[in-house]
Structure formats: structure tokens, C-alpha cells
């Protein structure tokens, strides 16, 4: 066995996974080759460092487990057989059909948007809104204003900007971080009392937003994307890039975009 062969199978040798003949061959090679023996020692040392570094972190999984439990309970309830005494299975079926219709319509819309390529960021925003707001899949949201502001600042969105939204006529409900296209965004959910809307924010970097300009509000060109399911609008200020999504009408998306463009 030569050195390159030995190095190649060293990982499996060190875990005892090699067949006897091959293990004996590499064992003999290591005895007679100081360079490969040193390599084996360095591998072991590196492994200890890696294990220590990664395992020094003890992440809190309680929130994840709670959300998994909620989803499992909801799914278990949805699986109650039709024909049983309760009236509510029919309701669940209705909800499931409704949810499936939303998913189907959105998938179609997503594909249309993807076909346009330039609007991928809008397609991602629409997908996130559908999963996390319309279908309310359990997620770890921050609901306290101070927590949301702290989260915003980690993404370069000022606490003042989050505050300013309070004067837009919409109430801030919750926030989290998500990724659209290649950027991380602060995903805020706001409500007008009747419906929830998504507002995605990140620092502006001069990249023009896709879509045609619908109107100019407060000096900001508001763009909109045509979409059968989710309605998307976006604008850019000096500091921020904002994308609005709703499953309501295009006018509802524009209304929130106008309010946000005035506030931010």
C-alpha cells in the first residue's frame, strides 16, 4: 500500500470499518511510514477539536418540540375518519380542501413567477407568506416589540423602522428571519384587523426590484408583481428594501405598500 492509498482509507481504518486484509496492510504501512503515522495522529487531534467546538453548543430545542407536537396533534385530529359521530371532521375536510386549493394555486403562481426569472424574490416571498401566514405552519415567531426590534437590528433593519410601522395604520403582530432568493430578510406579519399581511425588510443595496412601477409614493417607486394567488408589491428607500405580500387583492397589497413607503 502506498501513501496516497493509505491516506484515502485512513478514515475507515481509524473507525475499524476496513476488512481485515486491508486493515493489516494500512497498519503495516503506518508502522513504516512516519509521515502517514503523523497524518493519522493529526486526524485524531483534529477530530477532538471539532467535537469540542461543535458540542460546546447546547441549543434549546423546546420551541421546536412544541411546534412539532402542535402539528402532530393537528394532523392526528384531521385524520379522524369521516362517518364518525362528530360533526367537525367535515370541517376538517373543508379546511384541508381549502388548504390544498391554496397550495395548488400558489404552486402554479410560483411556477409562473419562476418562469419570469427576475421575480424569483417575489416568488420566494409569496411562498413564505403562504406557508407561514396563510397556512399558519408552526414557526418560531417573536411577538414582543422589543424582541422583534432586537431581531430586526441583527439584520440591519433599525428599531426605529419597526416602530415607524406602528404609525402606518397596520398593527405589528410578529416577526422572524427568513431567506428570500439570496438574502436574509426580517419577515414581519402585520394586520389591519381583518387580515394578516407579510412585510419583508432588508437593508437596501441598490439592487433594483423586479416588476413594473405602479406608482411613486413618498419618492419611492412601488413595484408590483402579477400573481393569481398571492399579491406582491415592493419598494426601495435609501435604507430599506421592502416587499409586501397578501392573498387578498392587488389593491390590498398596494395599500400596505403605500402605508409602508410613507412610514419607512
Amino acid at each position: 500500500m502506498n501513501c496516497s492509498e493509505a491516506i484515502e482509507v485512513l478514515p475507515a481504518y481509524l473507525t475499524g470499518e476496513l476488512e481485515t486484509a486491508k486493515a493489516q496492510a494500512i497498519g503495516a504501512h503506518l508502522l513504516g511510514c512516519p509521515a502517514c503515522a503523523r497524518e493519522a495522529e493529526q486526524q485524531k487531534s483534529l477530530d477532538l477539536q471539532l467535537q469540542a467546538a461543535v458540542k460546546s453548543e447546547d441549543p434549546d430545542v423546546s420551541g421546536i418540540l412544541l411546534r412539532v407536537k402542535q402539528s402532530i396533534l393537528a394532523e392526528a385530529a384531521a385524520q379522524v375518519q369521516p362517518g364518525s359521530h362528530a360533526l367537525w371532521p367535515r370541517r376538517w375536510i373543508g379546511l384541508a380542501i381549502g388548504a390544498a386549493a391554496v397550495v395548488l394555486a400558489s404552486v402554479l403562481a410560483y411556477n409562473v413567477l419562476l418562469g419570469q426569472r427576475t421575480a424569483r424574490v417575489y416568488a420566494d416571498a409569496a411562498e413564505d407568506h403562504r406557508d407561514e401566514v396563510t397556512l399558519a405552519q408552526p414557526r418560531h415567531w417573536r411577538t414582543e416589540l422589543a424582541e422583534i426590534q432586537a431581531l430586526a437590528e441583527t439584520r440591519g433593519v433599525s428599531a426605529e423602522a419597526v416602530n415607524a410601522l406602528g404609525g402606518s395604520g397596520y398593527r405589528l403582530e410578529r416577526g422572524r428571519i427568513c431567506q428570500l432568493e439570496d438574502h436574509l430578510y426580517l419577515h414581519l406579519v402585520v394586520t389591519d384587523g381583518a387580515r394578516e399581511y407579510s412585510l419583508f425588510l432588508r437593508p437596501s443595496d441598490g439592487t433594483p426590484l423586479p416588476g413594473s412601477t405602479r406608482e411613486v409614493v413618498n419618492g419611492r417607486a412601488v413595484h408590483a408583481a402579477h400573481d393569481a394567488s398571492e399579491q406582491v408589491a415592493g419598494f426601495e428607500s435609501k435604507q430599506l428594501l421592502a416587499i409586501v405580500v397578501t392573498e387578498d387583492s392587488p389593491e390590498a397589497a398596494m395599500r400596505l405598500a403605500r402605508a409602508a413607503a410613507n412610514a419607512l
Binding site: P11, D47, L48, Q49, L50, A52, V54, L65, P138
Partner: protein, 173 residues
């Protein structure tokens, strides 16, 4: 769920953000619950969970992948007298985590699964759905890449030596 922490530790080093990593683990556990009848009793449940995690990660594609710079690194030289180097394990951990974050996804994945989570090369081959030879060569290259990165920081390579497990902990005392 004793494996959730392990899943999250790995997910946090693959996904772009900690909340995206949480979503990934959440989805993994839900898929495992839905598909539990496909799990064969007597086989390795950890490997099965990690296979679901990796499949979910790959299926979600470009949107959730991490970019480097997860960990901020302080230069010890900038805050200490010349020639002095704090032997802090926290600092060493930060350096290793940064080196891991800077690596290619392929190399990071095999190091996390093989070295940190202790999967054997054969188990990794099943988790990643690649031939075992591919796993071994990725491991070798990943270790070399990691060592080069740490050596660049340490001006002389890895200095702490000790015994320990390598690709996996199978058979280790």
C-alpha cells in the same frame, strides 16, 4: 427527543440562519413522525433521522443554504501583548467553528456527520446516498482543508495532540 439537539447543531451549520435551521429540524421530526412506519426496528434511528434531515435540506435547495461568516472571530493578537496567545478553549472553539463555517458545504457535512456525530463511513454513505469511497475521499479532503485553515490561524498547525475517534466512534472505548 434526545436527537433533536444533534439535528439542530448540524442544521445550524448547514442552513443560512438559526430560525431556518429550526424549521429544517421541525420538518425533519414531522416527516419522521409521518413516515415512522417506514423505520425498521433494530436499525439505527439516529442515522434514519439524519437521512431525513439531509434529504429535507437538499430538497429545499438554494433557499436555505448557509453562507460563511456564522461566527465572529476575535484576533487574540489585537487584544493582548505581542507573542501572547490566550489558551482559552472558547477562543479555540470559535476558531474551529469559523473554519468549519468557511468550508464547502460538502466538506462541512462529512465532518459534522462523521467526526461530530460519530457516524461510520458506511452510515454516512447511506445518509448522503453516495458510495462509501466518495465519503472516505471527502473526509480526507475535508480534514486537509480544515487543517490548512486552522494552520493559517495558528501559524503552525494543530498544536494540541490527543487520542480520539476519527471518522466515527464505532468501536471506540
Amino acid at each position: 427527543m434526545p436527537h433533536a439537539r444533534s439535528l439542530l447543531r448540524v442544521a445550524r451549520r448547514l442552513a443560512a440562519d438559526s430560525s431556518i435551521a429550526e424549521d429544517l429540524v421541525q420538518e425533519t421530526l414531522l416527516l419522521a413522525w409521518r413516515g415512522f412506519d417506514q423505520f425498521q426496528p433494530g436499525t439505527n434511528i439516529r442515522a434514519w433521522l439524519f437521512r431525513i434531515l439531509m434529504n429535507t435540506f437538499y430538497a429545499q435547495g438554494r433557499r436555505i443554504r448557509s453562507t460563511p461568516l456564522l461566527v465572529s472571530l476575535q484576533s487574540p493578537e489585537s487584544e493582548a501583548e505581542p507573542g501572547f496567545r490566550a489558551p482559552s478553549s472558547l477562543l479555540a472553539n470559535a476558531e474551529v467553528n469559523q473554519a468549519l463555517a468557511d468550508m464547502s458545504e460538502e466538506h462541512r457535512t462529512v465532518l459534522l456527520l462523521g467526526v461530530v456525530e460519530g457516524f461510520t463511513c458506511k452510515e454516512m454513505a447511506e445518509i448522503l446516498a453516495v458510495p462509501i469511497g466518495t465519503v472516505m475521499s471527502r473526509m480526507s479532503r475535508a480534514r486537509q482543508a480544515m487543517r490548512s485553515r486552522l494552520a493559517a490561524n495558528n501559524e503552525g498547525g494543530i498544536r494540541r495532540g490527543a487520542n480520539g475517534a476519527a471518522c466515527a466512534q464505532k468501536g471506540a472505548s
